[in-house]
Protein backbone atom coordinates (compact mmCIF):
# COMPACT_ATOMS: atom_id res chain seq x y z
CA UNK A 1 0.00 0.00 0.00
CA UNK A 2 1.44 3.36 -1.01
CA UNK A 3 0.81 6.14 1.50
CA UNK A 4 0.81 9.87 0.99
CA UNK A 5 4.11 11.45 2.10
CA UNK A 6 2.43 13.15 5.04
CA UNK A 7 1.14 9.77 6.26
CA UNK A 8 4.47 7.96 6.08
CA UNK A 9 6.41 7.01 9.21
CA UNK A 10 9.14 9.30 10.46
CA UNK A 11 12.39 7.59 11.27
CA UNK A 12 15.49 8.35 13.28
CA UNK A 13 18.90 7.04 12.33
CA UNK A 14 21.68 6.25 14.81
CA UNK A 15 25.34 6.02 13.89
CA UNK A 16 27.09 3.33 15.92
CA UNK A 17 30.69 2.26 16.36
CA UNK A 18 31.29 -1.42 17.00
CA UNK A 19 34.18 -2.60 19.18
CA UNK A 20 36.34 -4.57 18.46
CA UNK A 21 36.90 -2.98 15.06
CA UNK A 22 36.19 -5.61 12.47
CA UNK A 23 33.92 -6.16 9.50
CA UNK A 24 30.40 -7.17 10.53
CA UNK A 25 27.49 -8.54 8.54
CA UNK A 26 24.36 -6.45 8.85
CA UNK A 27 22.43 -9.66 9.61
CA UNK A 28 24.62 -10.36 12.66
CA UNK A 29 24.21 -6.80 13.94
CA UNK A 30 20.44 -7.03 13.46
CA UNK A 31 20.23 -10.29 15.43
CA UNK A 32 22.24 -8.75 18.29
CA UNK A 33 19.92 -5.72 18.35
CA UNK A 34 16.78 -7.86 18.16
CA UNK A 35 17.95 -10.10 21.02
CA UNK A 36 18.87 -7.13 23.18
CA UNK A 37 15.59 -5.31 22.48
CA UNK A 38 13.53 -8.39 23.21
CA UNK A 39 15.40 -9.00 26.44
CA UNK A 40 15.10 -5.40 27.64
CA UNK A 41 11.68 -4.28 26.41
CA UNK A 42 9.81 -7.38 25.23
CA UNK A 43 7.64 -7.91 22.18
CA UNK A 44 5.53 -4.76 22.43
CA UNK A 45 8.29 -2.16 22.27
CA UNK A 46 10.29 -4.24 19.78
CA UNK A 47 7.30 -4.33 17.46
CA UNK A 48 6.78 -0.59 17.80
CA UNK A 49 10.46 0.26 17.35
CA UNK A 50 11.02 -1.28 13.88
CA UNK A 51 14.78 -1.58 14.33
CA UNK A 52 16.66 -2.05 11.12
CA UNK A 53 20.31 -2.00 10.02
CA UNK A 54 20.51 0.37 7.07
CA UNK A 55 24.19 0.41 6.14
CA UNK A 56 27.43 -1.02 7.47
CA UNK A 57 30.82 0.60 6.88
CA UNK A 58 33.41 -1.68 8.50
CA UNK A 59 33.11 -1.07 12.25
CA UNK A 60 30.47 1.65 11.76
CA UNK A 61 26.80 1.08 11.06
CA UNK A 62 23.65 3.14 10.67
CA UNK A 63 20.61 1.79 12.53
CA UNK A 64 17.05 2.97 11.89
CA UNK A 65 14.07 3.11 14.24
CA UNK A 66 10.75 4.92 14.45
CA UNK A 67 10.83 8.47 15.72
CA UNK A 68 10.19 8.73 19.45
CA UNK A 69 11.83 5.40 20.27
CA UNK A 70 15.43 6.39 19.56
CA UNK A 71 16.27 6.57 23.26
CA UNK A 72 15.00 3.04 23.75
CA UNK A 73 17.12 1.94 20.81
CA UNK A 74 20.20 3.67 22.23
CA UNK A 75 19.68 1.83 25.52
CA UNK A 76 19.30 -1.41 23.63
CA UNK A 77 22.49 -0.79 21.66
CA UNK A 78 24.42 0.04 24.83
CA UNK A 79 23.26 -3.22 26.41
CA UNK A 80 24.66 -5.41 23.63
CA UNK A 81 27.54 -7.49 24.96
CA UNK A 82 28.13 -9.89 22.09
CA UNK A 83 27.64 -10.26 18.35
CA UNK A 84 27.50 -13.77 16.91
CA UNK A 85 28.81 -15.17 20.18
CA UNK A 86 31.91 -12.94 20.21
CA UNK A 87 32.29 -10.26 22.91
CA UNK A 88 31.50 -6.87 21.40
CA UNK A 89 30.24 -3.43 22.32
CA UNK A 90 28.02 -1.16 20.22
CA UNK A 91 28.54 2.51 21.00
CA UNK A 92 25.85 4.91 19.74
CA UNK A 93 27.59 8.07 18.52
CA UNK A 94 24.98 10.32 16.93
CA UNK A 95 21.29 10.44 16.18
CA UNK A 96 19.89 12.16 13.10
CA UNK A 97 16.84 12.37 10.89
CA UNK A 98 18.78 11.58 7.72
CA UNK A 99 21.33 8.98 6.71
CA UNK A 100 23.34 11.55 4.78
CA UNK A 101 24.14 13.61 7.88
CA UNK A 102 25.40 10.52 9.68
CA UNK A 103 27.51 9.39 6.73
CA UNK A 104 29.32 12.71 6.84
CA UNK A 105 30.22 12.06 10.48
CA UNK A 106 31.87 8.69 9.85
CA UNK A 107 35.63 9.09 10.27
CA UNK A 108 37.41 8.95 6.89
CA UNK A 109 37.72 5.56 5.31
CA UNK A 110 41.37 5.25 4.22
CA UNK A 111 40.39 2.79 1.50
CA UNK A 112 38.06 5.19 -0.28
CA UNK A 113 38.21 8.77 -1.48
CA UNK A 114 35.01 10.67 -2.00
CA UNK A 115 34.04 13.93 -3.59
CA UNK A 116 31.51 15.63 -5.81
CA UNK A 117 31.54 16.05 -9.56
CA UNK A 118 29.34 17.54 -12.27
CA UNK A 119 29.10 15.44 -15.41
CA UNK A 120 26.95 16.63 -18.33
CA UNK A 121 25.47 19.26 -16.02
CA UNK A 122 24.31 16.75 -13.40
CA UNK A 123 25.79 16.70 -9.86
CA UNK A 124 27.14 13.35 -8.62
CA UNK A 125 28.69 12.01 -5.43
CA UNK A 126 31.91 10.23 -6.38
CA UNK A 127 33.53 7.38 -4.46
CA UNK A 128 36.94 6.25 -5.72
CA UNK A 129 38.11 2.99 -4.17
CA UNK A 130 41.78 2.11 -3.78
CA UNK A 131 41.46 -0.52 -6.51
CA UNK A 132 40.56 2.21 -8.99
CA UNK A 133 36.84 1.53 -9.16
CA UNK A 134 34.71 4.68 -9.38
CA UNK A 135 31.11 4.81 -8.19
CA UNK A 136 28.90 7.70 -9.20
CA UNK A 137 25.72 8.37 -7.27
CA UNK A 138 23.31 10.77 -8.85
CA UNK A 139 21.26 12.95 -6.56
CA UNK A 140 17.55 12.34 -6.72
CA UNK A 141 15.34 9.35 -6.42
CA UNK A 142 16.57 7.35 -9.46
CA UNK A 143 19.74 5.87 -7.98
CA UNK A 144 19.94 2.78 -10.13
CA UNK A 145 20.41 4.28 -13.59
CA UNK A 146 23.82 3.05 -14.84
CA UNK A 147 26.25 5.76 -15.96
CA UNK A 148 29.22 5.21 -18.23
CA UNK A 149 32.18 7.53 -18.07
CA UNK A 150 35.07 7.91 -20.44
CA UNK A 151 38.83 7.97 -19.80
CA UNK A 152 38.74 11.77 -19.99
CA UNK A 153 36.08 11.93 -17.29
CA UNK A 154 38.21 9.65 -15.11
CA UNK A 155 41.17 12.00 -15.42
CA UNK A 156 38.97 14.92 -14.36
CA UNK A 157 37.93 12.98 -11.27
Amino acid sequence: MRLRPSMRENFRYILVHIIPEDTYESRDIYHAIADSTMSLYGDTITAQMWPSVMQVFGPYAIIRCRRGLEKHLETTLSAISQIQGRPAAVHPLRTSGTIRTLKEKIPGDPDNRSGKAIISGNPYDVIVSRGGRIDLKEKGIYHDIPRYITEEDTEDL
Binding site: S39, E74, T75, A79, P87, A89, H91
Partner: protein, 137 residues
Protein backbone atom coordinates in the same frame (compact mmCIF):
# COMPACT_ATOMS: atom_id res chain seq x y z
CA UNK B 1 39.45 4.16 48.76
CA UNK B 2 36.72 1.77 47.64
CA UNK B 3 35.14 -0.59 50.16
CA UNK B 4 33.03 -3.63 49.29
CA UNK B 5 29.67 -3.46 51.06
CA UNK B 6 28.57 -6.15 53.50
CA UNK B 7 25.79 -6.45 56.07
CA UNK B 8 24.20 -3.43 57.79
CA UNK B 9 26.63 -3.31 60.73
CA UNK B 10 29.64 -3.56 58.45
CA UNK B 11 28.30 -0.85 56.14
CA UNK B 12 27.65 1.55 59.03
CA UNK B 13 31.14 0.95 60.32
CA UNK B 14 32.67 1.45 56.86
CA UNK B 15 30.72 4.63 56.24
CA UNK B 16 31.99 6.22 59.44
CA UNK B 17 35.60 5.13 58.94
CA UNK B 18 37.86 7.98 57.95
CA UNK B 19 39.46 7.71 54.52
CA UNK B 20 36.68 5.68 52.91
CA UNK B 21 35.54 7.33 49.68
CA UNK B 22 33.12 4.92 48.04
CA UNK B 23 31.02 1.97 49.22
CA UNK B 24 30.76 -0.49 46.34
CA UNK B 25 28.38 -3.33 45.44
CA UNK B 26 25.65 -2.20 47.79
CA UNK B 27 23.16 -4.11 45.67
CA UNK B 28 24.81 -7.39 46.68
CA UNK B 29 24.54 -6.75 50.42
CA UNK B 30 21.97 -8.84 52.35
CA UNK B 31 18.39 -7.66 52.81
CA UNK B 32 18.29 -4.28 54.60
CA UNK B 33 22.08 -4.17 54.40
CA UNK B 34 21.89 -0.61 53.15
CA UNK B 35 18.99 1.01 54.99
CA UNK B 36 17.94 4.62 55.50
CA UNK B 37 20.33 4.99 58.44
CA UNK B 38 23.24 3.99 56.17
CA UNK B 39 21.94 6.43 53.57
CA UNK B 40 21.92 9.21 56.16
CA UNK B 41 25.48 8.31 57.23
CA UNK B 42 26.67 8.29 53.61
CA UNK B 43 25.16 11.75 53.10
CA UNK B 44 26.65 13.15 56.33
CA UNK B 45 30.12 11.74 55.71
CA UNK B 46 30.00 12.43 51.94
CA UNK B 47 30.84 8.81 51.17
CA UNK B 48 29.80 7.80 47.67
CA UNK B 49 27.65 4.78 46.92
CA UNK B 50 28.94 3.01 43.85
CA UNK B 51 26.69 1.47 41.21
CA UNK B 52 28.10 -0.56 38.35
CA UNK B 53 26.50 -0.76 34.93
CA UNK B 54 27.80 -4.26 34.24
CA UNK B 55 25.00 -6.19 35.99
CA UNK B 56 22.48 -4.34 33.83
CA UNK B 57 24.29 -5.57 30.71
CA UNK B 58 25.43 -9.02 31.68
CA UNK B 59 22.45 -10.34 33.60
CA UNK B 60 19.31 -11.40 31.79
CA UNK B 61 15.76 -12.27 32.72
CA UNK B 62 14.72 -12.43 36.37
CA UNK B 63 18.24 -11.71 37.64
CA UNK B 64 18.29 -8.41 35.73
CA UNK B 65 14.81 -7.54 36.96
CA UNK B 66 15.92 -8.05 40.55
CA UNK B 67 19.02 -5.93 39.97
CA UNK B 68 16.95 -3.10 38.48
CA UNK B 69 14.67 -3.24 41.54
CA UNK B 70 17.64 -3.08 43.93
CA UNK B 71 19.16 -0.17 42.02
CA UNK B 72 15.82 1.60 42.12
CA UNK B 73 15.74 1.27 45.92
CA UNK B 74 19.19 2.87 46.12
CA UNK B 75 18.09 5.70 43.82
CA UNK B 76 15.00 6.21 45.99
CA UNK B 77 17.19 6.52 49.10
CA UNK B 78 19.50 8.89 47.19
CA UNK B 79 16.52 11.03 46.23
CA UNK B 80 15.58 11.31 49.91
CA UNK B 81 18.99 11.63 51.62
CA UNK B 82 21.09 13.02 48.72
CA UNK B 83 24.27 11.05 49.29
CA UNK B 84 26.77 11.09 46.41
CA UNK B 85 26.22 8.39 43.81
CA UNK B 86 29.18 7.04 41.84
CA UNK B 87 28.27 5.44 38.53
CA UNK B 88 30.92 3.29 36.93
CA UNK B 89 31.33 0.83 34.08
CA UNK B 90 33.52 -1.58 36.11
CA UNK B 91 35.28 -2.33 32.85
CA UNK B 92 37.91 -5.05 32.74
CA UNK B 93 37.95 -5.26 28.95
CA UNK B 94 37.71 -2.79 26.08
CA UNK B 95 34.23 -4.07 25.22
CA UNK B 96 33.00 -3.19 28.73
CA UNK B 97 33.91 0.50 28.42
CA UNK B 98 30.90 2.81 28.19
CA UNK B 99 30.62 6.45 27.21
CA UNK B 100 28.76 8.92 29.48
CA UNK B 101 25.89 8.88 26.99
CA UNK B 102 25.60 5.10 27.25
CA UNK B 103 25.86 5.17 31.04
CA UNK B 104 22.99 7.65 31.22
CA UNK B 105 20.91 5.61 28.78
CA UNK B 106 21.45 2.37 30.68
CA UNK B 107 20.77 3.86 34.12
CA UNK B 108 17.72 5.63 32.75
CA UNK B 109 16.12 2.15 32.71
CA UNK B 110 16.25 2.41 36.51
CA UNK B 111 15.81 6.12 37.20
CA UNK B 112 14.49 8.70 34.77
CA UNK B 113 16.16 11.84 36.16
CA UNK B 114 18.92 12.29 33.55
CA UNK B 115 20.31 15.40 35.27
CA UNK B 116 21.02 13.36 38.41
CA UNK B 117 22.61 10.63 36.29
CA UNK B 118 24.87 13.10 34.50
CA UNK B 119 25.82 14.73 37.80
CA UNK B 120 26.58 11.31 39.30
CA UNK B 121 29.27 10.76 36.67
CA UNK B 122 31.27 13.60 38.21
CA UNK B 123 30.86 12.93 41.93
CA UNK B 124 34.32 11.38 42.37
CA UNK B 125 35.83 14.87 42.12
CA UNK B 126 33.42 16.12 44.81
CA UNK B 127 34.23 13.16 47.10
CA UNK B 128 37.98 13.52 46.62
CA UNK B 129 37.82 17.21 47.53
CA UNK B 130 35.39 16.96 50.43
CA UNK B 131 35.95 19.01 53.55
CA UNK B 132 34.51 18.06 56.89
CA UNK B 133 34.82 15.66 59.79
CA UNK B 134 36.03 12.75 57.65
CA UNK B 135 39.78 13.12 57.18
CA UNK B 136 42.27 11.38 54.92
CA UNK B 137 44.18 8.59 56.71
Amino acid sequence: MYVQAGDAGYNRSALTTSGVHVLMDVQNSPKDGFDRYCAQLAADCEVGVGLSVRPLIELIGVARQKMIRKYEEIFTLQNRYEFPLVLSSHASDITHLKSPREMVRLFSMVWEDEELLMASLGTIHQIKNRKGPVMEV
